[in-house]
Amino acid sequence: MTNNFNAIEFQDVSLAFGDNVILNRVSFHVRYGESKIVMGGSGTGKSTLLRLVLGLLKPDSGRILVDGEDITNYNEEQLMKVRSKIGMVFQEGALFDSLSVYDNVAYRLREQKVPEETIQAVVMRMLRFVDLEDAVGKMPNELSGGMRRRVGIARALVGNPKIILYDEPTAGLDPITARTICELALKLRDLEEVSSIFVTHRLQDMEVLANEYVIRDDSGNLIFEHEGDRLCLINTKFIMLKDGDIIFSGTDEEMKLEDNPYIRRFLS
């Protein structure tokens, strides 16, 4: 075995729904500790790409590796083990409407038969993390869109997954909540060494994720820093999807220098 540096790797992955080709021999990788920001217009297959990582869908051809394991031909039972390493924030939240916020967040631990005291501690910590302690007893239909999204994030973080997939976690939120969510992602990237794929349309998210970082100072406080001119973050890369192909892959500095008209329009 060679050393594996990739948390997620796609090798020549193709997928079509009928005649509608979504991905056409797409290859990319996400290194351990790296955040990959995925951009692309509506319907270009960003959510589909995340579903492939989880094994919720199978590619027509090509191979998908997660944490060094080739999951392409895994059956549902083998996939369950892989999925336990992954947290997924669904585009619409996908909260279980029959369960309260508490039970939603506790879901994964309940399935793993973790003792209830432990579950309670974890759930309250996660809800504090997304600033929703007050909503613990509410049902999903009593929450606003942004709150649902944050509960979805809390639920995805339970069990400390080393890989997190965010499907447009900031879409349709006010700038302050969106900023909070990006800061969460930064904390996970810089302090917990989580690898992630972050799907987003918003330029503000890209700016934050590509140019800021978090450190913990001597007294344990978190400090958000801007990379400035001296430093260049190498743990955040971009890819852009269009018509089934990756038309750009690289850092934000490289992207700003691209002269592809589609990317220019996307960034303006």
Binding site: R51, L54, L56, E76, M80, R83, S84, I86, M88, F90, Q91, E92, A94, L95, F96, D97, Y107, R108, E111, Q112, R155
Partner: protein
């Protein structure tokens, strides 16, 4: 041709679902507390409509049959006629048609909306097999509850017939009850319990299948719900014929 292919594909998918449920049941985790919850909501939740259905069916059976029987001077066998009709046929079929309407549609709607709102995907992403957590408990619950509800339906039906016999037909209750008791024998009851067991399975599996194969958002959920009721009801009636033939030749005509 196109229709035939589509039906064959659906049958294949349904068989696959059944196979996955069976395989799922042979391995842990099994969701027993979820199963008990489903027995409560699907089974006891249907008690009221089953009581009403049974009572009125028994009443109308007594009313109609007494009229005809009187012509032959054998009004005294009203009880037997009511009990036999209920146990053999009307109890199982009516109970399960009601269940197809109330429970089958509910299952299809619930699973369908979970599917279109990505809750099924979220469940899989969080490490749960929806076949084990959602489908198997509903099937077990209905297979267990449909015969129990059928027995209740038969029982209140006979009582409904008794009520009509006493109040409208002015028969002594002892005549009716003695005649009804004649109808009840071991083989009849076994036959009358096989049917709802099979029907319960059919209703649950079709509800789950239709729910989980929903496409096209909320409109699709409505479509799946309707289809599950229609398909399950027709299946109940068609399979009832086959089972009746089988039961008559195996149990009732030795």
């Amino acid at each position: 041709m196109n229709l035939i292919t589509r039906v064959l594909v659906e049958v294949q998918e349904l068989t696959l679902l059944i196979w996955r449920v069976v395989r799922g049941l042979s391995r842990s985790p099994r969701y027993w507390s979820e199963t008990v919850r489903q027995m409560d909501t699907l089974g006891f939740g249907s008690l009221a409509i089953i009581l009403l259905t049974g009572t009125f069916t028994g009443m109308v059976l007594a009313l109609n049959s007494a009229n005809t029987l009187q012509k032959f001077g054998v009004q005294s066998v009203t009880g037997q006629l009511v009990a036999t009709s209920l146990i053999r046929e009307l109890g199982p079929v009516l109970t399960c048609l009601m269940l197809a309407g109330r429970v089958g549609s509910g299952i299809a709607a619930e699973l369908g909306s979970m599917l279109v709102s990505e809750q099924i995907d979220a469940m899989r992403a969080l490490g749960t097999d929806p076949i084990k957590k959602l489908v198997a408990p509903r099937i077990i619950a209905l297979v267990a509850m449909a015969p129990i509800l059928t027995v209740i339906c038969d029982f209140v039906g006979v009582l409904g017939g008794l009520f009509v016999s006493i109040t409208l037909l002015h028969q002594p209750s002892t005549v009716y009850m003695a005649s009804a008791r004649d109808a009840v024998d071991y083989n009849e009851i076994i036959g009358g319990l096989i049917k709802p067991t099979v029907f319960g399975f059919i209703i649950a599996i079709i509800g789950c299948y239709k729910g989980l194969s929903t496409t096209g958002g909320t409109v699709g959920v409505g479509r799946s719900t309707t289809q599950s009721v229609v398909v399950a009801s027709i299946m109940v009636i068609a399979v009832d014929f086959l089972l009746s033939k089988l039961i008559i030749s195996l149990l009732l005509e030795p």
